[in-house]
Each structure stands twice: as C-alpha cells, then as structure tokens.
Symmetry: C2
Subunit: 552 residues, 2 copies
Amino acid sequence: MNDNVKVIPLGGLGEIGKNMTVIEYKNEIIVIDCGVAFPDEEMYGVDLIIPDVSYLLDNKDKVKGFFITHGHEDHIGALPYILKQINVPVYGTKLALGLIKTKLKEHEMLDVAKLYDVKVSDTVNLEFLSVEFIRNTHSIADSCSLAIHTPVGVILHTGDFKVDYTPIDGLVMDFDRISALGREGVLLLMADSTNVERKGYTISERKIGETLSRIFSKAEGRVIVATFASNIHRMQQIIDASIKYGRKVAFNGRSMENISNVAIELGYLHLPEEYKLDIDELTDHKSEEVTIITTGSQGESMASLARIAFSTHRKIKVEPNDLFIISASPIPGNDKLISRVIDKLLSEGAKVIYKDLEEVHVSGHACQEELKLIHTLVHPKYFMPVHGEYRHLKLHGDLAKSLGMNHEKVFIVKTGQVLELSKQSANISGKVKTGKIFVDGIGVGDVGSVVLRDRKVLAEDGMLTVVFTIERETCTLAAGPDIITRGFVYVKESEELIREVKEISRIEIERCLERGIVEWSVLKTTTRRAIERFLYEKTKRRPSIIPIIMEI
Amino acid sequence: MNDNVKVIPLGGLGEIGKNMTVIEYKNEIIVIDCGVAFPDEEMYGVDLIIPDVSYLLDNKDKVKGFFITHGHEDHIGALPYILKQINVPVYGTKLALGLIKTKLKEHEMLDVAKLYDVKVSDTVNLEFLSVEFIRNTHSIADSCSLAIHTPVGVILHTGDFKVDYTPIDGLVMDFDRISALGREGVLLLMADSTNVERKGYTISERKIGETLSRIFSKAEGRVIVATFASNIHRMQQIIDASIKYGRKVAFNGRSMENISNVAIELGYLHLPEEYKLDIDELTDHKSEEVTIITTGSQGESMASLARIAFSTHRKIKVEPNDLFIISASPIPGNDKLISRVIDKLLSEGAKVIYKDLEEVHVSGHACQEELKLIHTLVHPKYFMPVHGEYRHLKLHGDLAKSLGMNHEKVFIVKTGQVLELSKQSANISGKVKTGKIFVDGIGVGDVGSVVLRDRKVLAEDGMLTVVFTIERETCTLAAGPDIITRGFVYVKESEELIREVKEISRIEIERCLERGIVEWSVLKTTTRRAIERFLYEKTKRRPSIIPIIMEI
C-alpha cells in the first residue's frame, strides 16, 4: 500500500457502455457509475453486458460506495447485478436514485439496497476521499460531474455532459465551481469523449421545443412521438407543445410509463392532471386532442413503436391522420430497424417526421468547442479521456494537445489499466482483470465465447446431426445413421443431398467398426470430417456437424 | 394482348438493391438492370439476394434483352444467376460490360453470354421498343440514363445519377438531350430516389481530389486508401494525388485488382507504367513513396482493410507512420464494423482519416435540388419514383407534387405491381410474382424462410438435442436419453441443469412407453414440451429442442 491514488476504469474506455471507474486510496475505494453495455450483432442471444468486477470482489472490504453521475442505462444498468455481489451504499441525485429504485424493484432488491440521496453541490465525505456533486447539463435531468478530492489532488470526472446555456429546467452547468476548481488546481481531468469527432457546438435542447411547437401547430390528427424514455426534458417539451395546442398526453411503453411516473412524482416532469390521458381512454377523445409519447425510437422489434407500425400493439392502431415524430437518433447499428418502422408507418398512410427531415433531436454530448471550454476552465495537470471507443479517446487526447497540453500528460488508457497518481507524477502502473459478463435471460455469465462461437456457426449455416446406435458386443451398427438438420437447407428440396450424407456416414462408420475402432471420439471425428468435406464441396457451406453415438 | 405499355419493377422499389424493371409492349419485353441486394442481419448465412424472375421465365419468348444503366452490383450483380435461366442479349456501355465480363468469367459463363457494347448516345432498336443511352454522372464512370421510346410515348429512366458539373472525366450529364426529350414530351419519368431526404446539392467528386491532395501533401509514411472498387474516378484522384507527391500506387483486394485492371485496359483509369507498384514489391520502396488502394471500406471482416488492421493480411502489416484514409460512407448497418477497424488501426499506431473528420467521400446520388432540376427539364406526364425504400419513394412523390404535379399522376409503386400506360392514361392494373431468392454458398434458392427461422432460433439460444434408443419389441428404453447442446450454456458450469433435463426426459419417455405410446411424433412432442417448459422456467431461454429417436 502506498500513498498514491489509483484510477482504474472497469469499463467504458475503448468501448461504448458499461461505464465504471474505480478510484482507490489506501484502504478506500469508490466507484463512479455502474452501467451496462448492449450486445453487438455478433453476440447472438445476449441481452445485456455488465462489467467484470473481480477487482471489486477481491477488495470487497475497501469498497465504500457507488457514486452515480446520472440515470442513464450505461451508468446505472448494472447496479442490480453488481449489488447482489457487493452491497455497498449508492450515492446519487434524486432522479438517478428514482430510476435506480424502479430497477431494484424489478430485481426484488429494493429492501436491501442502501441508497443515499445527494443534493447537487453537496459533498460526500469518506475517510480519505470526498466526492463533490457538480451540476452539469445532459440529455437527462439532474446530471452531475464529480470532483473527487483526494490527498494527492482533485480528480474531476465530467460524467456525460453537453454545454446547454438554455436548458429546459433553467439549471445551467456550474461553470463557476468548475472554474474555481481549475483555479485551485486539478490533478486529473476525466472528460466525456463521445462527440469529439464533431466540430462546433451541440444545439440546445430548447431548439427542439421550437421545432415541435411548429410541427404540432399543423398536425391534424393524433401526434405520436417516440423518444428515449429517460429524456425528461424532451418529454416536457412534448407536453408543453401538446398543452399549447389543446392536446392531452398519454404515455406508452413500460419504460416510458415507469420513468414518467418517477419524474412526475419527484417533480422533474410537469403535467397538469387535466392533461393526463390514460392509454385506455384514447377512443374517448378526438384525435386532434391526443398526444402519445412512446418508447421504441430505435425501431426495436419488441418495443411499442414497432408494435404500432406492424399492427401488433394491443391498444394503438395506425390511423391515416396520425403524425409520428421520431425524436431520436439511431444508435449505430439500429439504422435499418428504425428505417423499417418508418417505411411501414408511411405505407400505412401516416405522416412521419424524423431527424433527416426536421430538427427533432439533439445530442446530449459535448462537441469540440464545448470540450475546449472545459479543458480551458479546468487546465488540469493530467488528462484521461473517457467514455468512448479508442478513436474517440485518441481524438480527445489530440484535442487536449492542440490546446497546449504536453503529450506526456495525456493518458489514453484501456479498460483495466491502472493510472497511478501522486502529487507530482502520473503513470500506468499495471492492469487488473476486467471483461464482459453476458446476461442472457436470467443467466449471468453462463454464456461466453465458446457458446457464442457455436451460435455464430449455427446462425450462419445451421446444423446437421448424424446419430447412430452401436451394439457393443458385436461391434456392429444397430440403428442409423439418421440425419437431422436445422437451418441448413430445405429438406424437401435436398433429399438427395441428405441421402448422400447418410450413405457417406454409413460407409465411414462401418469402415471403422470393421477395423475394430470403437472409440467414440475417433468414430465421431472420422464421420464429422467426412461429412464436412462432402458438404463444403457440394454446397460451400459449413454447418455445425454433430455426431451422436448411442450404445446398446 | 393490348396496345398499352406495361412497366413492372421486379426489384428495387420499397427496398435497397436488386434493381430490375420490366418494360413490355405486345410480344416485346426489355429489362432494365439486373442487380443483387445484400442480406440484412436477420438473414443468417445468406450471401446475396437476387430477384425472383418467374415473370420473365413465364414470358421467356418475349424477353429481348437486359439494358444496363451502369456497372454497380445492385444493377449487374444478378446477371450470372439470371442469364443461366434466360440467356438473352445484354446491352451496356463499355465499362459496365467490362465489369460484367469479370463476373461471368468467375461463373464460367463468358462464352455463352451475348454482350453488346453500346456507345453513349446510341439507340438500340427492337421491333416496337427502342432504348437510347443518355450520359449521366454517378459514382462510377460511363453511367447512363435510358430513354425507352415506345408506341405510346417516351419513358425516361434516370438510372442512378447525381448532377456533377465538374466530373473527373470531363463528361457532364447530357442535359441537352434530356431537355429535348422533355420538350418533345415524356410520358413517364422514373427517377432515382436514394438521396431525396437530403436538402441542397451533392458535392462534386472533384472536391474530394482537393482534400486528398492536401492530405497527401502532409503524409509522412505510406498512404493506404480504402474505397469502393467500382469508383474509378475516386481511384483516379487517388492516383493523381500520388503522382503529384511522388508515390507509386498498388492495388489490393480481389475486386480492386479486377476492376482496376478492367478500367486501365478499357482506358477509364490512367496510371503511367512507372507509377504502377505490385503488392509484392512494397518492401522495395520507401514508405513515403507508396500508396495502396484497398478494398474493405465497409469494414467487412473478410475484406482487405480489416485483415490489415487485425494483422491477418499476408502482405501488408500496419506501420506506425501509415496514414489510412477511409474514402467511403458506411452503408446502413456497417457503422460498427468500420468503427472497429478504425479503432484497431489507431491503436496499432497508424493515423486514420475518415468521413467524420475530413471531406473524403461524396455521394453518387442526387439530392433535392438536383432532382428538382431533372423534374423541371423533363416535366413528364406521369412520374414513378424508383430506387429507394418506401419512405424515399413517398418523399420523392411529395417533391414532384411540390413542383406542381397533380397527385393523380404520381405513382408510388411496389415491386411486382404493374403500371399500365397508354398515351392518355396510366394506372396500376395488376401484380406479378416477385420475391427474394437467397444465395448461400453455391446454393440458389435452397435457403428460405423456414431455414432462416431455424437459424434465428439457433442463433439466439442455441440448441439442445435429446436422443434415445427404443427397443421395438419390448417397448423399452434401450439407451439414452443423452443430451447434447450447442450454443446454449457452458456445459461445465451447467452440469446440474443438463442432468435435470436428462432426468425429465427419461421420466417423460418411460411414462409414454409404459402407457404403450410408441408413435415417434407423440414421444417427441411430449419430451420436447417438457424440456421447453423446464428450461424456460429455469433460464428464460428457448433453445431449439431436437428430440431424436432410434429404434432397434
């Protein structure tokens, strides 16, 4: 144990999602955020990815708590899974905690979790470390940057942020406090790199309100807006436009209902009682008096918007005068899904407005000019870009250097690397175990790379099982071989092919048996290889070949 | 048979790709283009999609030829497959035919195909129909719009196009001929809808040359540019920048080598002999004297760029001073693939310039203002938007209406619908069979929705086989049940689960056998259901359960 502070990202660097950072001093560890990541298309069947927290489990006694910057999934989503393993206090602002509570409830963990409501500008003091919550602006209300005061100096973690001079709740980012910290001296800045590729400034959320108001003024039928359930300010602007044009507002989709309830209850979302509309009462109102705010803005096939489009929603059917607004950007990878939904809505006769046509969405992350502002205010001794793929971190490092920072003071760190800080120095001093834990159904960690590799093969060419029974004593084929395929070819149209596979298998097996080879492994391998060779030549495909032997 | 002309899109409307349009008059059918589409992520294992041409096969005697607008895959890629079924003449300009020939060669069909080289501005005359090739500008050289002169009037099909006033080869779009046609009267306009969502103009290809030249002027090591192999003008600009700064040029990747050979041979690409570099001679030259033009600009894992990045390329390894330029846009769905490659190249120490950072790519399709120009010059009697998803066709229809066209004269047509035209009228008069034929390996059409559904289930939750042997005479279980899984769970960590499945199966089978139930279908269904129920409850997953019975 030494007198240095260690900063260890357990997720979020060199990847999008599962943001989690350890800050450690002597026997004290605090953890910033505890998020999930979403699977990419090669992670067949995986629902969620959570960080490997072996390092926390190995240092269980040191861990003093999770400090949450804001209530987005990639910052809070892993809490139910991780708190099951290490139940320490969770500190956050009111809205973040409200969202965490709905999660913990679903996991039946609300009673055991220790949640502490922190007011913006307050500081949580531990033995050596103290954590100050500083207001910032982001695409969710009540978002904070964190200043971690340590014996070797201040670490400022921006959290996710943008610079919005005209936020919907009127609460601007606390530049004054950030400047003061900069003036007093910040040892390490960790700053959001998401939008570092984009020049200029991010547009203010308020601008969307103006666009919405203009669109609402011309709408003739129902207005149905799909957006991220956590974007309370967006919801508020949709509500404001609705009220202005005499529309009641209904919430649709589980997360939209959950989060709007939490936000209204906690006072973050304002919807007068007389404008509330239950989704079951839609038909009692004229369509020009109805707004629906719904989930599914990414086109996910199981979410509400897609269900409405493809007529599988139980309560909402597309009507010809409907105006749909997709108030979101597709997350990389989701473009095709959302396009499919838009095409279907249009072909059902509805109008659809989306980002390519009107300014109905803005990002919640800082672009280059905003990042320059923060760097200039903070002018830290050391800088570690966070929250981004490698190219984001690299470009963010370059941005810091373009502002005059020495390249030796910029640390492009990988998840798991340990940045060790003293008052006078910073260096990468090691590496801890990290990784992706896959959540599939209710299984956590029982799906890994072998299982995924199998799924990939199955997905691409399907499988072919060859099964046969051997009589042990006589060393003869008692039944089979039978061939069963799934996802390989149309069996009807390929009867000849399957017949040939059967024949090839029979020949291989009998040849082995005649030679007295009864070791299952040899029998299996020989048969599998013969089939593989034959099928690849005939079809240029490589289905998963599964030989099964029964013995009687 | 009547005196009307029928226009029947067999692909390309309400979808991206597999462009193909039938124009029919009496006993004469001509087909515009013959393209492939690429599978989306749910089409597991599918390599290509070609159009269902049942309609052509049913009218084989009428089909007089394919008329190719340009040499992109989505316009020529299906030819080898379709010509095997209906070998009629193929008409196109020199470069398009050159590219078609390399395809036909791979399919060993070059000897049997009937290819006719058409000069730009020439007309191919059939009995009733004649097809005039009109120069346009696009992201491939030698691209044409087609005017089909029919007894009821002229049909103008733009093909894919953009308006480029400063094309690299100096050959601007033939506005004069298009105006003349407009003046004389065009019955039906069919125009490219790809970029109708975009306001303003598409930037000229020449602009990219300026950016490349600036980037090349500062490059210190090798420059490696990934772009679409078919974009000859882009290649030419990369060559020009290379020569300007004393670099020799090597081509890398099969399609890049093929197409550059064809283009150089046909005189579309100019690379002085002394600047040609073989990929095997890379090490003989200083890195600042080398440019490599490579495939893989979409980040496809098997293409050259990804192989270079992930160190699996046999001849090219990343060097610290390398400058990579991704001179392309990600096609929707490929964003993550290309990001992964960029991240890897950066983390290997190379520099990478891509579209988000510099203007290193422009689109080949017309934006709104360019489309307005064409509509204004042509001012057709009827309009059918083509080449786009439904939303593109819809918006393009709206654009035509905004220019004063009556909404009854705009036809938003679906693939397979028949638009029937007389001199005085146009109406949708029917529908022909169309669809997607999947190409998987060398199989064409032997993979369909059932196989894909199976692959989807296998991909998401894997499979579990339960296999057992029954003795017919005694009606008892002779061996098994054995459980084999793939892509379901880590077997080691789930031994208990698998043991339970085995036990449940045994109980179900014996219960059936005791009652004298020996029908395989009942035995299978009973066992499958019991396992499904158990596994869903335990894991919330639904693997494909495959019961196999052997009988001795």
